[in-house]
Amino acid sequence: MNKDIEIGIEHVTRVEGHGNIVLNVKKGKIEKVQWQISEAPRFFEAMLRGRNYYELRTITSRICGICSIGHSLASLKATEDALNVSISEQTGILRRLAINGENMQSHILHVGYLALPDLLDVKSVFPLVGSKHNDSLLKVVKLHRLSNEMSDLICGRTTHPITLVVGGFSSIPSKKQLLKLKKNLEEGLETVKQLAQVIHSVIDKLPNFKRETEYIGLTSKKEYAFYDGDIASTDTGIFQKYKDYKEIMKEYFVPQSTALHAKHNRDSYMVGALARYNLNSEQLHKEAKNTADLLNLKPICYNPYMNNIAQLVEFVHNIEDSIIQIDKLIKNGIKDEKPADVKIKQGRGVGIIEVPRGILVHDYTLNEKGKCTKANCIIPTNQNHANIQKDMEALVPGILNETKEKIELTLEMLVRAYDPCISCSTHYLNVKFV
């Protein structure tokens, strides 16, 4: 046990953004275990400075390529909150479809392309082509395409949506298109159930690691919360003063990271699919619950590696929910609504939403001309960085006896389990423009 180990993984692969894992062990003693973020700061606050209220969602969508729909929606919610704009029921349903589409797209991309290779002992998704797992790969591809088609239909484009505007939508899908989507979703439900069986067969490859953690996410009485809800913590319960989110999400700076860390009741907390599952599992739709059972996911689960399983469960839930939402739209009749009118006024608005990686907050202050004077965003991955660090610190002592390659793989898998979106998470701070 008196080994020297030096691990420096620069730019972990199969994660979005640039992060490094550093582990220095001398004579069996852990000198340094660090999760570093080296992503260049992008200064999004500077980009929002002085911008008109209708431009904010376009710019903030560029924070991230994978969760651009989520950022747009959080931005719109914050803007509409500041300007007291109410949206129609149809817009609410369409936005839920948008979020479902993004959640599905992000989760299947992550589980299928980024995490599954580890479970099947390959370095990337490319070797799976033509192998005995080719069938599973095709299922992943099919589901990914379904998610993209859904987002394309509702938002105009999956990455950097077009139709999501203040007060509603700039273009609305037709009944014909929605019925076709519904049919594809029903087929997709069967496909993902088959994929779940495949995951079930390799699920033992997931490390069995447990560390008691606080989980934070949105919760709602009406539904498994994504678009609307109150902030909730597995430790402290429901918090309804949404504009005072900083009382829950306390961000702080660390030198090894260009991204902030966050804490609440303990030294760190976790957000994301596992957090949402732990808070709201009762509200999952039927097939999703069945999938959770199949894959041995039970609340409250403290194993961060099960986050990927929770993502697959949410994927199933999103498909079922989307079918329900489309039925609602068809029943009410699809109206060619123009976005709601906006009366420009001064104000502060906060928009909180669940994006694939966790709870996201946009907080804007607008002046009397409708221009942004102050902006703050809390990114899900920021909130996870501290938890990743703490998990690593707890995990490493137990695996020191393994080979260097196995330690590296286990640490990388831990980072991947969180599905971090590192370029989103860099640079967010509270800023006031003069």
Binding site: S38, A40, R62, H160, T163, C424
Partner: protein, 260 residues
């Protein structure tokens, strides 16, 4: 031998690389004509030997510049992928203000002084650091255009990107012109190639593929008056992706092609 392709990203949202990952089954066609030797976002393997380097993102720090120069020296062909790489995109918005001011506002009193990670300067597009051979514009890129460029290179020919405005494609789509709906669209001065996707979905073009030409000032003033916009608002819209196309002092500085 198939050309070896490597993907790199700098300061970006990685949405452009995601479009390529989203090729799904067509990725299989792609790897039939090229060898993908490095694509950090989806695979672990990496090689330092490649013929075509595809670079996404803007350059903000000396350490990024250093990495980019290494990439340029190893590749025969370098393609700038997406608005952040081709023209700076939204990353250049902060160039309107001195970097020290922006850093101070964002990081306040945090101790970042000798931290290499935070040593930023005004955003640069890739061609402001190294020569770029081809550009794939857009925020994000369109998959079709990416396919066109890659097949052109695989066929040994120079890819041709449109040198005309978005209006051409918008009219071919038979869209109701957004100006007629009271919206101000940058389509007439923005490079085409995206199929006019935003105006086709009811959202005015914001110029993410790069401003093509400087419009006549008198004409612009007339339009602004007709659609009840101020010059400042229009400038602000234009500067979303094309910040340094507009010199704050004199307004529009892109030289018009075809004009004496």
């Amino acid at each position: 031998m198939k050309p070896r392709v490597a993907f790199f990203d700098f300061s970006s949202c990685e949405g452009c690389q995601l479009q390529i990952a989203d090729l799904e089954e067509e990725i299989l066609d792609l790897i039939e004509i090229v060898d993908v030797v490095s694509f950090r976002e989806v695979m672990k393997e990496h090689s330092d030997e490649y013929d075509i380097a595809i670079v996404e993102g803007s350059i903000m720090r000396p350490m990024d510049e250093h990495r980019l120069r290494k990439i340029r020296s190893r590749a025969k062909t370098l393609i700038a992928l997406g608005a952040c790489a081709t023209i700076g995109g939204v990353n250049k918005i902060r160039n309107q203000w001195p970097t020290e001011e922006v850093i101070k506002e964002v990081y306040k009193d945090a101790d970042i002084k000798d931290n290499e990670f935070f040593n930023v300067y005004p955003t640069k597009a890739v061609n402001e650091v190294v020569p770029v051979d081809y550009y794939i514009h857009g925020c994000p890129i369109t998959r079709d255009e990416f396919k066109k460029v890659i097949t052109a290179l695989a066929l040994g020919k120079k890819p041709e990107i449109p040198n005309y405005p978005v209006c051409v494609e918008c009219k071919k789509n038979e869209n109701v012109c957004l100006f007629e709906l009271g919206k101000f669209c940058l389509g007439p001065i923005t490079r085409a190639g995206c199929g006019a996707i935003c105006p086709s979905k009811g959202s005015p073009c914001d110029g993410c593929r790069g401003i093509l030409s400087k419009p006549d000032v008198e004409c612009v003033m007339e339009l602004l008056e007709r659609y009840d916009l101020t010059y400042e608002e229009m400038k602000s819209r234009c500067m979303m992706y094309n910040t340094e196309s507009f010199n704050p002092k004199d307004g529009m500085t892109i030289v018009r092609r075809g004009r004496k």
